[in-house]
Amino acid sequence: DTTLTVYTALEADQLKAYQQKFEEENPGIKIKWVRDSTGIITAKLLAEKANPQADVVMGVAASSLLVLEKEGMLQAYAPKGVDKLSKAYVDSANPPAWVGMDVWGATICFNTVEAAKLGLKKPESWHDLTRPEYKGKIVMPNPASSGTGYFDVSAWLKVFGEKDGWTYMDKLHDNIAQYTHSGSKPCKQAAAGEFPVGISFEYRAAKLKEGGAPIDLVFPKEGLGWDVEATAIMKGTRNADAAKKLADWSASRSANELYEKNFAIVAMPGVAKPNAHIPGNYEQLLIKQDLKWSATNRDKILAEWTKRYDAKSEPKK
C-alpha cells in the first residue's frame, strides 16, 4: 500500500467523500490528509521547503500554488483528460503546474432575523458595508490565514484600483467586529446571529441556509472575488506514481461530479447543476481576476494589510 500525504484546505465535510471515491477507484493507495486554512497550509509548505512532507497538494487556492511554483516546489504534470477542463481553471504552462478543481467565490451571509431586530437593511454592494449602521456588525476572514479573505482583498484592489481599494478597506475596517481565522467562520457566526453580517463564500453559505439558518446570501454587485481550488504534485515526492494517480483522478469526471455537490462552478464544463440558493448566473458575477497577479503580490498585499488592520487592539463596538 502507498500512503499519500496530501495537504489540503478543503473543508472537513468534503474530504471524506473525495477520499472514499478515490481510494475505491485506486485500490492500494491511501490518502492521509493534512488540513488547515489556506494561509496556514501555504506557510507550512513554504516552511518545509527544505524537507517537504507533502506528496500532493489538493484543494488549495491556485493563488497559493502559484507562490509555490515560483519557489520551484511543484512538479508539473498533465493529468489524463486535462484537456477536457476549462482552460481558465488550469495553469497555462505545459505541462501545467497545477490543475483546477472548482471555483469558490465571495458571498455575504446576512442574518435576516438579527437584521430585523436591529433594523439593518440588507446590503447589496461592497460599498453598502461601509455604512455606519453596520459598525461592529461585520465579520470577515483574515486574509493572512484564509484564502477566502485573501481573494476578497485582492478583488477589492482589482475592482476599486489599488488606492481606492485600500481606502475602501480603511472604511470597511471601521465596521469590522472581528477578523476570523477561517473563511467559513464569518458565515457561521452570521448564521448563529452572533454578528449579523459575515463575509464568506458561497459553498458554506448555501450549506448553512440549507441547514435552516436564517440567512440570506448576498452577492455584491461590484463583483465577487474568487479563487480556484487546485491540485498539484510536490517536487521530490517519493510516491510519484501514486501522486500522478491522484492528479489524474482530481481531473476526472467522477471527481468533478463530487465537486459539483459543493460548488456552483467546477473545472469540467457541463457537470455543474443549479443550486437553489445560488443564482444561475453566478459565474458572470465573478470579477476578471489574474491569479498570477494575486500570487506575485501576495506577500506585499498581506504585509500592507497586516500593517494597517491586524495591529488593531480594540475590538470595534
Partner: protein, 564 residues
C-alpha cells in the same frame, strides 16, 4: 596527581546494585537534557537566527521591537495579566480563608466546585462566555454590543482558569497557622483587625505573592482564552501562535517565545527565593490553629463560596448546555449533532481518542519516570553529578510556559539534521512533551512523599545487606502509593486539557481533543467545540473519580499501617 589520588581514596567502592541505579540516573539525566534543555536551547538558537536560518544576533528582537503591533500586544498582555491577578487574588483569598479559617459546612463540596476549572482546557470558559455574554448571550446586557470579545472576555475566562491555581496555594499558605501567635496577640490586647494585619497577613504574605506570580504567568502565556474570546484584542501568546502556525515565521515566534519565558522565569526565581525565606520563618514549634465556630464568619464564608462556586458552575454548565442545543438561539431543541465530530474540522472522534491515549500514556510513563527519577535523586548516593543534573532540570519546566516548550520541540525535532527527527509528528513526542511540561509539579509531589520517609531507610537496608530495589519494592513504593496515584491523576488531567505545548506538535494522525476544540472554534463550529470541551471535562472528572475510588480501595488494602 596528589589531589587525584586523594579523591580516589575518598571513595567507597560502590555496591553492585548501585551500578544499576547510576545507569538509570544517567539515562534520566540524558532524557531530561534531550527533551527539555535542548529544545529550549533550540528556541534560543532560533530566536537568534534570521529568516534564512543563519545566525543574526538580536536582529529578530530588534525587528519585532520596532513594530507597533508588538508593543500593543505587550501592553495588552500585561493589562490582561495584571487585571486577572488583581481580581483572582482577593476572590481566591476569601475562598481559601473560608475553607481554612471558618467552620462553615460543606467544605469538601465547595472545594470540589472551586477545582472544576482544573478539569477543563482554558478554551472552555471562552466558549461559555460567548454563549453567556456574546451578542446572542443569555446575559448579553452585562456586556452590550459584543464587548465581551476582547479584554473583558479574556479576563473573565482567565479568572475562571486560574482561580483553582491561586486557591490551592493560598489554602496551603493559610492552613499553616501558629495558634500561639494569635493567642499572644490576643493576650497583648490586639483586636481582630490588628491580628489580621500583624499575624494572618504576614503569614500569608508569601502565599499571596506566590499565587500572584503563578496567576500572572499562567495568564500571560495562555493563548486558549484569548484565541476564543479575544476578538481583535491581540496578546503576546496569540501573536506567537500566529507567527508560527499562521505564518510559519519560526524566528519571530521564537523571539516572542523567549520574551514570554522572561516573566515566567522571573516569577519562578522570585518565588523560589521567597520560599527559602518562608522556610526560615516557619518554626517547627507552631501549634495548629483550631478554628472556633462563629455564626457570622461562617455565614459570610458560605455566602462568598456559594457565589464563587455558582459562577464556576454557571460557566461550566453553559458550555455543557451549548453542546446539546441544536442552533443557539434559533433552535433550542436538544441534539447530539454537535458530537458528530467526524464531519467537522478539527480531527473528529479520533482527536478525542488520541487525547485519551495521550493522557493514559502520559500518566503511566510520566508517573514511572518522575517517581523513579525522584527516588534515585533522593535516595541513592550514586552518580552525584547526574543526581544534581536531574534535580536542576526537574525544576526547570515550572519556569517554561507550554507554548515555549512546544516551540522548542518543533525547532528541535523538526530539524532534519537531528537524529531524533523521526520522533517528530509521532504520538511519542506528544507524550514526552507532556511529561516534560508538567514534570516539576509531579516531581514535587514525589519528592515530598519521599522526603517524608525516614532518610535512614537506605542506610538500614545497606547494613542488613538488602539491595536497594528490595527496599524500593517492599517499603518505598507501598508507602508512596497515594502520592503516585496523585501524580498519575495530575498527569492524566493535565494531558487531557493541555493545548499550549501540543498545538505546535500534533499532526493529522495525532490531533488531540483540546486542539480540536480550538480548531472547531476557529472554523466557527462553536457548539461542537463546546461539545468536545464537555467531553474533556467529563473524562477528566470520571478519571478523577476512578482515581479517588482506587486510592480509597488501595488505601484500605495496603495502608492499614497508617492507622493506629
Amino acid at each position: 596527581m596528589i589531589a587525584l589520588r586523594a579523591r580516589a581514596r575518598a571513595r567507597i567502592a560502590p555496591e553492585r546494585s548501585q551500578y544499576a541505579a547510576a545507569g538509570l540516573l544517567w539515562a534520566l539525566a540524558a532524557a531530561l537534557v534531550v527533551f527539555l534543555a535542548l529544545p529550549l536551547a533550540a528556541i534560543l538558537g532560533k530566536a537568534l537566527s534570521g529568516d534564512d536560518g543563519h545566525f543574526a544576533g538580536l536582529a529578530q528582537f530588534v525587528a519585532i521591537a520596532g513594530g507597533e503591533r508588538f508593543w500593543s500586544a505587550v501592553s495588552n498582555s500585561l493589562a490582561v495579566s495584571v487585571t486577572t491577578t488583581l481580581i483572582v487574588l482577593p476572590l481566591a483569598y476569601v475562598f481559601a480563608a473560608a475553607l481554612t479559617r471558618t467552620r462553615m459546612p460543606a467544605k469538601p463540596l465547595f472545594r470540589a466546585l472551586a477545582l472544576i476549572p482544573l478539569l477543563a482546557p482554558s478554551l472552555l470558559p471562552g466558549i461559555a462566555l460567548v454563549y453567556l455574554f456574546g451578542n446572542q448571550g443569555v446575559l448579553k446586557g452585562w456586556f452590550p454590543d459584543g464587548s465581551i470579545y476582547g479584554f473583558s472576555g479574556i479576563v473573565i475566562a482567565e479568572v475562571f482558569f486560574t482561580f483553582p491555581h491561586a486557591l490551592m496555594i493560598l489554602v496551603t499558605a493559610l492552613s499553616v497557622a501558629d495558634a500561639r501567635l494569635y493567642e499572644a496577640a490576643t493576650a497583648l490586647g490586639a483586636g481582630r483587625i490588628r491580628r489580621f494585619l500583624t499575624v494572618t497577613l504576614p503569614a500569608a504574605r508569601y502565599g499571596l505573592i506566590s499565587s500572584a506570580l503563578v496567576v500572572f504567568t499562567l495568564v500571560i502565556v495562555d493563548f486558549g482564552a484569548p484565541k476564543v474570546i479575544g476578538g481583535q484584542y491581540n496578546v503576546l501568546a496569540v501573536e506567537a501562535y500566529k507567527q508560527v502556525i499562521g505564518q510559519q515565521n519560526f524566528p519571530k515566534g521564537a523571539v516572542i517565545g523567549v520574551l514570554l519565558l522572561l516573566p515566567a522565569v522571573l516569577g519562578f526565581v522570585i518565588d523560589h527565593l521567597l520560599q527559602k525565606r518562608q522556610r526560615a520563618l516557619l518554626t517547627a514549634r507552631a501549634q495548629p490553629l483550631v478554628v472556633k465556630p462563629n455564626v457570622w464568619v461562617d455565614g459570610l464564608g458560605v455566602l462568598a463560596c456559594t457565589l464563587i462556586g455558582a459562577a464556576m458552575l454557571l460557566i461550566l454548565g453553559t458550555a455543557v448546555a451549548a453542546a446539546f442545543i441544536k442552533l443557539w438561539p434559533y433552535n433550542l431543541t436538544p441534539t447530539l449533532a454537535h458530537f458528530d465530530f467526524d464531519n467537522m474540522d478539527g480531527g473528529g472522534w479520533a482527536a478525542f481518542f488520541n487525547s485519551v491515549k495521550l493522557a493514559l500514556a502520559t500518566a503511566l510513563f510520566g508517573t514511572l519516570t518522575v517517581f523513579g527519577g525522584a527516588y534515585l535523586a533522593e535516595k541513592t548516593p550514586v552518580a552525584p553529578v547526574a543526581r544534581q543534573l536531574v534535580r536542576m532540570l526537574a525544576i526547570l519546566p515550572m519556569a517554561v510556559p507550554g507554548l515555549v516548550l512546544g516551540l522548542g520541540y518543533i525547532f528541535f525535532f523538526n530539524d532534519p539534521a537531528n537524529p531524533l527527527h523521526f520522533l517528530y509528528g509521532s504520538m511519542t513526542v506528544l507524550v514526552l512533551c507532556s511529561i516534560a511540561h508538567f514534570y516539576t509539579t509531579a516531581n514535587l509531589t514525589a519528592t515530598t512523599a519521599l522526603k517524608q520517609l525516614d532518610a535512614e531507610f537506605e542506610a538500614v537496608a545497606a547494613s542488613l545487606k538488602v539491595p536497594f530495589w528490595t527496599t524500593l519494592w517492599r517499603v518505598t513504593l507501598p508507602v508512596c502509593l497515594p502520592a503516585m496515584l496523585d501524580i498519575a491523576r495530575f498527569y492524566f488531567v493535565s494531558a487531557m486539557c493541555t493545548v499550549s505545548a501540543v498545538i505546535f506538535l500534533y499532526t493529522p494522525d495525532t490531533v488531540l481533543a483540546s486542539v480540536a476544540v480550538l480548531n472547531m472554534d476557529d472554523a466557527g463550529d462553536t457548539a461542537a467545540a463546546a461539545a468536545m470541551a464537555t467531553l474533556i471535562v467529563a473524562v477528566s472528572a470520571l478519571v478523577c473519580l476512578v482515581f479517588s475510588l482506587t486510592a480509597w480501595w488501595l488505601g484500605r488494602k495496603t495502608q492499614a499501617w497508617r492507622t493506629r
